[in-house]
Amino acid sequence: MSQPLFSKLPPGFRIQRETNTEEFFINMGPQHPSTHGALRLTLRMDGETIVELVPHFGYIHRGMEKQAESMSYLQYIALSDRQDYLTAIQNNLGVVIALEKGMNVGVPERGEYIRVMLQELGRIASHLVFYGCFGGDLGGQTCLLFGFKEREMIHDILEEVTGSRLTTNFFRPGGSRYDVPDTFIPRVKAFLDHLEGAMRDYERFLSKNIIVLERSIGIGVLTKEDAIAYGCSGPVLRASGVEFDVRRANPYSIYDQFDFDIPVFHNGDCYDRYKIRIAEIHESMKILRQCIDKFPKEGPWRSKEKPVRLPVGRYYSEIETAKGLYATYVVAATTGEKPYRIHTRGPSFPHIAALNKMVQGHKISDLVTIMATLDPVIPEIDR
């Protein structure tokens, strides 16, 4: 009795299979709590098992790249905040490094330390949101409260330094907008002391939790070859056993002066993707402690202010945000204050493309776990 079920599949679905059971389609999103924003997924189900998944993007496509063509370079830094708002401060740096390459401007030592410290604070903030959402998606709403508790402390520091909680718009070619206040270093120190104890509690809460173990070990395995082929980066790639971190591979800023490890896990399942982010929080704390020790008390914090005009050419920068490889490609067709085109490569876009590979054969509740461990931010995909 086996026969092909669908003579014509909806657009996007490709797998041709013959079954005796009845298949059906489920629509998930664009307004769904576990898709982390306005993402729509269509699932082809065999009973409760996922056969195939097709993501539909564009529900938050805001046309940033078109808009950037009529903006000045400095105005685009503000737009980059709104791409991946969890790592806004890191996106700023990605754009600014590309501009610095064009302007040929360096950054004094104190400025570099400010950059690295804010980068790592941003990374911890983003991973704490991941911790909360991961626990929340598995059914433990308490984790959400925990993750956001320490994140608020980072927001306090960011607010004191940049004037804004979320969309910072802080870095400028040659340094940053302002110097850090005197209270910055003591506050970061106090925060790290607090976070160390808090992380111990949080790890005890989830890492050995039997529900988490059962629901994440062996779920959503992404092999090393697939992870590279689909262009995954950041914690997702490193959880699959590839040691690739831009901070180590192509060190930007002063990341080559610090002693830190790149955590790598080899199973590529949901549990490894969770563990790697916890390990990265500890590595970030390590970098921050070294920064506190070496932070120059005196000295200029930015180089001489220059008009932001880029000569004709194409400039490319890449940085490692909390989510992965964030690349900015600036095309200047005429020497001036406005770009001809700016293109951003966000890390979450390839992750969602690889989602189909990960969910096949899993149950629909596992999809929620896998989505949580990919930690996507949809506005950064759609731009």
Binding site: A38, E152, R314, R345
Partner: protein, 419 residues
């Protein structure tokens, strides 16, 4: 609440009945205003601040709104957190229709008030939520702080407390006034207010001078001194993998048509040898060589370009530049292959904006990552990828007219940025 709304009709004729109606109002409003359950909805940055407001530090539970419902059928309040795009608009209207009345909406953030940072040169964003659904409270900010959201919530509470059985909640209609019109009106009012203020101030100053003829101010303006900063040299970058010159020589040995584009008059080799270490090699490839070149750099043991960073394009007057950005995870070097695709000008001019102007072979069978990137380029530029397994629009609706990232793109809803 049909029965309660009948209360005035039944009770008002009875002596003392209006006191009962007032009591009913009091109880109903007390219940409604203190348990406004919001819908779990968020598209972008504001959603994170909305989440923050429901967490331990800010604790939205103090105002009775901690129960975020995932289903619109259980919600009373629609917090529009984040930009509204044209593609999302029908979903928002559907969500609003699914919420049972009495229902309220808070437009959170600049994007939902007017389009915010996306007001100019934008083809995708709806300028203001009030064009879609009736909004009760606007909360400005980009994104607003949690405290601002609470202020919006308390303002809404006041509004709810003003409702009575005699004047019950009714669904309003979305306001069909364009954002620019409202802007102009607001600007006019603002200018009038400023003028009035100026006149009043001038009067007050004149009066003060009359009363105190020999008054001298002791105030000295303090100007912040602009600090002088020294110029700083750029740090040298560590070179990883093969140098640009080596990559270039190895590529040209295999594909002699590959060229390096430079504005300098020096020979290519000298330019490449002196190039900064952090700059990737960007070479021009002929369209015929493109597929073979990508295949070569992927499989060659010296190149090992196993990681596709991105595929993107740039629109020029008569051609597209398709840039394929590749890197080697193991070795660390990067190559940007740039293909110049001549635009097909045999297509009549009036049809050009809506038709595919160039074609190039796909590389999605070599790099699975290229599939979505090529779909994006197809969507934004209208470049055809021959042999692509699933060439559909990715970010825009399938009935969207035109390709937005072309320089000659125009959209009826686009407002040009004033210079």
């Amino acid at each position: 609440m049909g029965i309660i709304n009948l209360a005035p009709k039944v009770l008002d004729p009875i002596p003392g009945g209006k006191y009962v109606v007032n009591a009913i109002d009091y109880v109903v409003n007390w219940a409604r205003a203190n348990s406004i359950w919001p819908l779990t909805y968020g598209t972008s940055c504001c959603a994170i601040e909305m989440m923050s407001s429901s967490m331990a530090r800010y604790d939205i539970a103090r105002f009775g709104s901690e129960v975020f419902r995932a289903s619109p059928r259980q919600a009373d309040l629609f917090i529009l957190a984040g930009t509204i795009t044209r593609r999302m608009a029908p979903a928002i209207q559907m969500l609003w229709e699914q919420i049972p009345g009495p229902k309220y909406a808070i437009a959170m953030g600049a994007c939902t008030i007017s389009g915010g940072p996306f007001i100019y040169d934008n083809y995708a964003v709806v300028r203001g939520a009030q064009n879609l659904i009736p909004v009760d409270v606007f909360v400005p900010g980009c994104p607003p702080r949690p405290e601002a959201l609470f202020h919006g919530l308390l303002t809404l509470r006041e509004k709810i407390l003003k409702e009575t059985c005699r004047k019950p909640w009714h669904e309003g209609l979305p306001k069909d006034v364009s954002t620019m019109d409202r802007y102009r009106e607001a600007a006019k009012t603002w200018a009038a207010l400023e003028e009035m203020k100026d006149e009043e101030m001038a009067e007050a100053r004149a009066k003060f001078k009359e009363e105190h003829p020999d008054y001298k101010s002791s105030y000295k303006p303090i100007r912040i001194k602009k600090e002088d900063f020294p110029e700083v040299e750029r740090k040298p970058f560590r070179r990883v993998g093969l140098t640009q010159l080596e990559l270039y020589q190895k590529l040209t040995a295999k594909f002699p048509n590959i060229t390096f584009h430079t504005h300098s008059e020096e020979p290519v080799e000298t330019v490449l040898a002196n190039a900064p270490a952090d700059r990737p090699l960007e070479v021009m490839v002929e369209p015929e060589d493109y597929l073979a070149a990508v295949e070569f750099v992927k499989n060659d043991p010296e190149f090992k370009m196993d990681f596709l960073i991105d595929v993107t394009a740039i629109d020029y007057d008569d051609h597209f530049d398709l840039v394929t950005q590749l890197r080697s995870i193991e070795v660390g070097h990067k190559i940007f292959l740039c293909v110049q695709l001549k635009k097909d000008f045999s297509i009549p001019e009036e049809k050009r904006p809506t038709s595919l102007l160039a074609s190039v072979p796909t590389i999605s069978h070599l790099y699975p990552a290229a599939e979505i990137k090529e779909r994006e380029v197809y969507d934004m530029f209208g470049i055809d990828f021959a042999g692509h397994p699933d060439q559909r629009r990715i970010f825009l609706d399938k009935d969207f007219v035109g390709y937005p990232l072309r320089k000659d793109f125009s959209h009826p809803e686009m407002i040009r940025r004033p210079l």
